[in-house]
Symmetry: C2
Subunit: 313 residues, 2 copies
Amino acid sequence: MGFMQSYAIIGTGAVGGYYGACLQKAGFPVHFLLRSDYDRVKEKGLIVESIYGDFTLPRVNAYRDPSQMPQCDVIIVALKSTQNHLLPQLLKPLVGENSIIILLQNGLNFEREIAKIFPQSFIMGGLCFICANKITAGHIRHLDYQEIVLAEYALNYQSCGITGRMEAIAKDFQKANVKIALKADLLQSRWEKLVWNIPYNSLSVILNATTQAIMGDRHSRQLVEAIMQEVAIGARSCQREISASFIVKMLSHTENMKPYLTSMKLDYNFKRPLEIEGILGNALEMAREKATELPKISMLYQQLKFLDTQNRK
Amino acid sequence: MGFMQSYAIIGTGAVGGYYGACLQKAGFPVHFLLRSDYDRVKEKGLIVESIYGDFTLPRVNAYRDPSQMPQCDVIIVALKSTQNHLLPQLLKPLVGENSIIILLQNGLNFEREIAKIFPQSFIMGGLCFICANKITAGHIRHLDYQEIVLAEYALNYQSCGITGRMEAIAKDFQKANVKIALKADLLQSRWEKLVWNIPYNSLSVILNATTQAIMGDRHSRQLVEAIMQEVAIGARSCQREISASFIVKMLSHTENMKPYLTSMKLDYNFKRPLEIEGILGNALEMAREKATELPKISMLYQQLKFLDTQNRK
């Protein structure tokens, strides 16, 4: 075996825990940063129940302080984006020359922010299509899907093609039996994901509803479609095109899904902060930079801000 | 005493019961149409607890079938607008030559619909600024305010000035100690009322909140203001002007109100149908006739339609 890239996992929840465990199982050196789950994971390791086969890692490299961690080749950020204000401090000790930072997060524009803080690093965005929950500390249940869409960030989200760095990471993930797709244009992929995330995350909270209930009512279904079209207007303001057929595909895909509580609705139910800024606020801001108003998304944003505040009072 | 106009009250809830009782107390012949409360009111009459003094009417002219009622000079419709599909049938036996029909209801465009069905009648719109509840059958509690703003309908909502008919009705209400203001332009008054009704009724249901909570949060307060501005755009499409200072007045008036559950929120809590069409749908339609889209109000409409359906499943 030749040179193996080392990985740091920042935020060992369902997403970070699952992908980190897959990488370690495949033989890669992985270092996990934890907070509340540290003691348990240090002692017992990680348990993964997965539709692709259960496995246990009795020993993992667990840390609660990033300054104790080694510098790693690849730093995977799997925190909720509501904690991104902590990243400058958390990442500083980990980032070396030529580090790769992958944001496995929902939402727009975080790569640009991180690139400003770590201009010497390579920044990528990873979009996860995975259904996984953390049952208890160090115990992850992986229910469905697992694909990652990966793309690299270049200044102001210029499309930068498929880099060798991306290919090296894709190889690692493939060794770990994780499906990965490489994309040339990160911003295109981010806006595409928002086509789903903005309407369903927002409406599931505002209307207190599953995706199935939303799609089963004529009015809310029309509203979803209208919001998707507004996301496409936002994308267009950034010179990215969302086709009408992509929207049709998202609608019919969701109609055929099992009833699903979105991640924002789960956060709401558990009275955790909602990813409003990443998913809606930053999209509004990027469009506004291009003098484009998105009135429906702007209203969803304000409704969610109100509900989030009330919910955590 | 000279000639006294006779009154029919269609829908003896809090609003119809209160104004009808005031008119009867002042000596006018009043005929009340009831449904579920008929037996009780036939037997016991009406009880009004009011900040302006309590009174009881032990005997009232109560009906459960409009064909038993005499033709009246003035027919006051005080049903919720969600029942307006019943009006052609309910009003037919009551309407004579030169009848006056007053819609004491929320929402836009109902006068036009009624005028089409009863082209020989004079149609007026009455906007009630009253805080009253029906506690039980025939028992009304009047908590605050009672003013009526009255204006007459002319074809396609042309402004038609202050008519002699309006003045005669104003005199009757003044005799009954009800404050009444006459307006030349019904459509102007209807749009003005929507400036308050659309944002607060809608958001109180969608956000599950009092007017106070809505005004106490920066984001929802901004949203209210943005919606009010959209109502003004709708009004403008109908050649009616809502001034910026009117909007400022509505906002500060609401900020200084006691915490208040809107009528739509009360309907929602009691699982009654919501007045979505009258308050939002008809405004959207009138604007659309003038090729004007109101994206925020359109989204509120779709959200409310979903919530109303789920609520009464």
